[in-house]
């Protein structure tokens, strides 16, 4: 028989789905700004391997001569990005959800086993509760990255008034590089995240919209067996 298991709180789902378009707008408007002086390259031993970004990239996204627009959007949506992130962190603290999210000592070792399992190299995944070790690391890192974007962003936005933030970021130049690198990080996170969500399937996807999962359990014939219920908390899918 099926049972309904509550999984994600409303606050988590709300902030997740608000963040998605807001972050997309931040990245897009950030590119409009970056375009004005596209200075970054990956250079090793004097060889430029990649230039952020090839001209075709800008043309494809229609990113030309739109610096003023980019800044106007960026410095408007930054407020939503910050407030939404703040609300999410507040929710995890107040609800105690952080306990499921922050990596444990064992997480760093276990995360490799999760990765090997996901790549079908290892047959079994380590036991887990709501989030596996790799997820704990990923979902905590992304919050730290979000904070990093705000921090490095302020360092670039008001380098005189918040000179100490700029100093902590290693100066104006380095703050810009960090701010840019974090954005590259979001894009990579997004790609892996989407692949994992597709692989995890419908039940998991629904839980981030509707909040619950449906679990198939062998019939519970006699009420006394309900003492075994804690076992149900293990997520049989292993992925989310």
């Amino acid at each position: 028989m099926k049972i309904i298991k509550e999984k994600h709180a409303f606050a988590m789902r709300w902030t997740h789905w608000v963040n998605f378009p807001v972050l997309a707008i931040m990245i897009w408007s950030g590119l409009l700004i970056y375009w004005a002086t596209g200075a970054y390259t990956i250079t090793i031993f004097g060889q430029t391997l990649f230039k952020f970004f090839p001209q075709g990239f800008y043309e494809f996204l229609n990113l030309r001569s739109r610096l003023a627009e980019g800044m106007a959007f960026h410095f408007f949506f930054m407020w939503f990005f910050a407030v939404n992130g703040f609300l999410y962190v507040l929710y995890t603290i107040v609800s105690g959800a952080w306990r499921e999210l922050v990596p444990k000592k064992s997480s760093f070792k276990e995360a490799w086993l999760v990765v090997l399992h996901d790549l079908h190299i290892r047959k079994t995944a380590p036991p887990q509760n709501k989030y596996n070790a790799a997820q704990r690391i990923a979902y905590t890192s992304i919050i730290i990255m979000g904070f990093g974007s705000l921090f490095t962003g302020l360092a670039i936005y008001k380098p005189v008034q918040f000179y100490w933030i700029t100093w902590l970021c290693g100066g104006y130049h380095f703050a810009r590089i960090l701010h840019f690198a974090l954005t590259v990080g979001y894009v990579l996170f997004f790609l892996i995240h989407v692949v994992q969500v597709i692989l995890a399937g419908w039940n998991n996807f629904r839980s981030v919209i509707a909040g619950f999962e449906v679990i198939e359990v062998s019939a519970l014939p006699v009420p006394q067996d309900l003492t075994e219920e804690p076992n149900l908390k293990d997520n049989p899918n292993g992925k989310e």
């Binding site: 309904i4 003023a68 627009e69 800044m71 410095f75 005189v160 008034q161 000179y163």
Partner: protein
Amino acid sequence: MEKNNSNIEQNIKRRNFISFTTFAVLSASALGGWKWLYKAGKEEMGITARARSPLRVAMNKSEVFFRNFFSNNHLVKTYPRSQAAKNVRINSRIGLEKEGFNTEEWELSVIKDTNDILKLNMADIKALPKTEIIFDFKCVEGWDQIQHWAGVRFIDFVSHYKLESQSKMQYVGMKTPNSKYYVGLDMPSALHPQTILAYEMNGEPLTLDHGAPLRLIIPVKYGIKNLKRIGTISFSNRRPGDYWARQGYDYYSGL
């Protein structure tokens, strides 16, 4: 048991329906909100222009918020002279178009009141105490360069010429002699101890491309506010016109 099972099925269906409908409605409204914002009308030509009206409101609100953090004690970082660029970047010549401009004939007009204009020449300005600054000049486009400038601090200029009553107003406006480039500055930024009316770069008189004979160096603002070749200085309680704010940029543009 059977009944229980079908109850659960019904419950799942009901909750799926409610959640996904809500999700779809909210997504559609978010998309609608975005389209509204993206297609929002541009401002009419005024003190500021060419930004989407709601975004201009947001810029002005952000200015109000971030002005709370402004302080004369927050100074731009300065560098040793050896780090100053020898080849100082020229990004724009807007306002410098007039061919045959003669720095010798140049005069600075300080509009103290409608009928009270103070006319000054370079000797008057050079007679005031000279201040040097070597700082990281930041362009709104994203580049920056360590540059070495020298001239008279605006605050010293104001006190020497007894412009106290003018400096109680909220804004300063500056224009090139041909009025083609102009900036508006909030008074606290103009009176910041690092704001300089500069006449030297790397220890030499300014070249024409860098705004000879006198230009503004205001490290608490982006480069767009650092007007070259000052012709007129005026004071006002209303925002003076600003060249780049009329191209959709933030009026404040403070760092």
